[in-house]
Symmetry: none
Subunit: 210 residues, 4 copies
DNA sequence: TATGAATGAGGCTTCATTCAT
DNA sequence: GATGAATGAAGCCTCATTCAT
């Protein structure tokens, strides 16, 4: 028995349109830029009156917040799906998990390069508050990374004494590089190669082993 | 004896004001954002009439181009100063050079966090063309990195068979991470720690050495 | 049964406002001059916001084009109403037709002297393109005149060997003189006298008949 | 012995530059239009600083006044040169004089079509006051015409009872037509043909003589 | 509930004019 | 006297937002 509040037909339709508006705004912002996009552009993509927009969202600033939230959720969702945090206890396990995460990210990036574009190119320029949200997200990702690293150090398969916080930020930067790369070079194969290089650096560094 | 083309007093003053306008615009864009900054804001910072602005720059788009150029030059200048490309032939030499480069970057970032803010937060959101300029700059940095890596592979102090192009991009991402980190956490000490972590990952990876 | 495409109430109101804007612009341009008139002036005459103007016309240049078009149509409409081209075959018939045309013109000019003012004073100074439109209109009128003259020469009631093209231009000039005269001296009676003088010169010249 | 106040070398140079500024302004106004021409444009044509302009003329409105005055004087000068008002006492004499006047006008118009352009296209659109000046000039020309006609009626070689005032305006219009024609079709030969047609209408009308 | 007509704050840009050098 | 750097009034236009239908 479902205990969720049943949505009336009307409510379902409203929610659906709301989602469509977010999607249309995402497309418009990613393609033309936030500042160059008008509310009318978004409405026109859906064939609705632009007055209708204001029945679903407060204002332009409101929609971009939802668009960015949806974009972040898309990424987070993909990652947590492939992800059992703390479920690995060996170097190989961690490496395999890293590959899975990288693949999941590559999938998002290559299937829709507007995702990294929105997050890296458009969102930070919206206004200082939004820039902070994006930076917060980066920090959050770094925190998550750091947790993995701590786990690895504790378990002994990562270097003892590793500066987990800053190393996490460094690794985070490589992931960001992959995202940015996907904006301009969206092929899956290429993204895989880049992932491999990232994981190579991450685990082994670039020095010739002696 | 100076052989430089002597600038008249007038020309010197014009060049000076031009530079001041670029600086004021840099400040305004970094602090309030490009789109939230009006020409009048820039002029007001200098106590000049806003009409004067248009004697020095074509329009708002023109000034941001110059601001970004100046910002990029600031970075490039700092790097090339510390930089003898291809002048190292050992792992330790490369590592030391990497430290010097990292220090130079840290110096820029911590001495003026508006530099990374302008490049990473504001510039990409100006318009698609500017976003491309920034992405071009990232690509250029990656190309430079790749050249270093190639040199190291040839000389034998870096891992044979290294995917230099993609590895360069990965390393580039870590540098970007440092830049972004500097936006929010501008202390020199912290930046040094982050640099150390980056160089640690870069050369040795995170795996426990056997 | 009306077969005309039924305009919705909304469409009718829009078309009506559009017409009112053209009228207000006509008034403003005729009274203050095109360059001295601001969009805000036009809007203020109608008690609408100046933003509303831009819902109906592209820009200032657009509205003056429509104003001039409407002005030309007003003249052309009045003339073609009184006008059966080629329907006369005698000198007296042509003279009578000329009188009718002159009366129609006099009616327009005296009922609204802003019509000649717009066409002769304001429009040419808008920009070179508009000046060309006005000159084109004069040329068109001359062409029409020439057709009448040709007809008369063929039918034999006008002088054989008449240089119809240039004579048409000369007559055109007399009509223009009437228009200009109407700008400053708009009385109907006066306009009639001028028309009579024009037709006198046109048909008989000024020489004492022998 | 000259009793005219001798101009110092300096004063002569000033007067010369003054004339050059008027000429340059004439060119600029005729070619680009009054409103589209900036003071800087005029100064640039002469290679002088635009601040210098204000040492010779009060403001932009001032210079166009002088330009129009010079233009009118150019016409009046050419006409009065060929012109002995009241010196003819026969129809043929008047006709010959009319031809001479027409030739003089044709000479001005074809040698510099910017003259009619300035007077008919540009000047009226400057502002209402300038429009009045132009209309005044037309009226003056009509008055002059009327004087000739009166003389002819008195002497008996023009039609008795002629409405000299309005007929003068009609003839004036034909002259205006020639001026306008010269704007677009500046050939001397063509202008001569048009003059002939005008004089033909003026003296004989278009009716077939019985 | 959906619409789009109306609005006007806001921002960019031009250019005639001034005035210190 | 000549210059051109500086100025800011003025005007065009956009577009987010409101609200009557």
């Amino acid at each position: 028995m479902s205990v969720e509040p049943a949505l009336s037909r009307n409510e379902r339709k409203k929610a659906e349109l709301r989602r469509e508006i977010i999607d249309a705004a995402f497309e418009a912002f990613a393609e033309r830029g936030y500042h160059a996009t008008g509310i009318a552009d978004i409405a026109a993509r859906l064939g609705i009156g632009h007055g209708t927009f204001y029945r679903y969202f407060e204002n332009k600033r409101d929609i971009v917040d939802h668009v960015v939230s949806a974009t972040i959720e898309r990424i987070v969702g993909a990652l947590t799906a492939e992800n059992a945090p703390g479920a690995v206890d060996t170097l190989e396990g961690y490496r395999a998990q890293s590959v899975r995460i990288a693949d999941a990210l590559a999938e998002i990036i290559t299937s829709d390069p507007r995702v990294p574009r929105m997050l890296v190119i458009e969102a930070p320029g919206v206004d200082p508050e939004m820039a902070n949200r994006v930076l917060d997200f980066f920090d959050l990702a770094a925190d998550l990374n750091a947790a993995y690293l701590s786990h690895g150090v504790e378990r002994g398969y990562l270097r003892p004494g590793l500066d987990v916080v800053n190393t996490a930020r460094a690794i985070n930067g490589m992931i960001l590089a992959a995202a940015i790369d996907g904006i301009r070079r969206p092929g899956v194969d290429h993204q895989r190669e880049l992932s491999a290089a990232i994981i190579g650096v991450m685990f082994d560094g670039i020095s010739r082993s002696m």
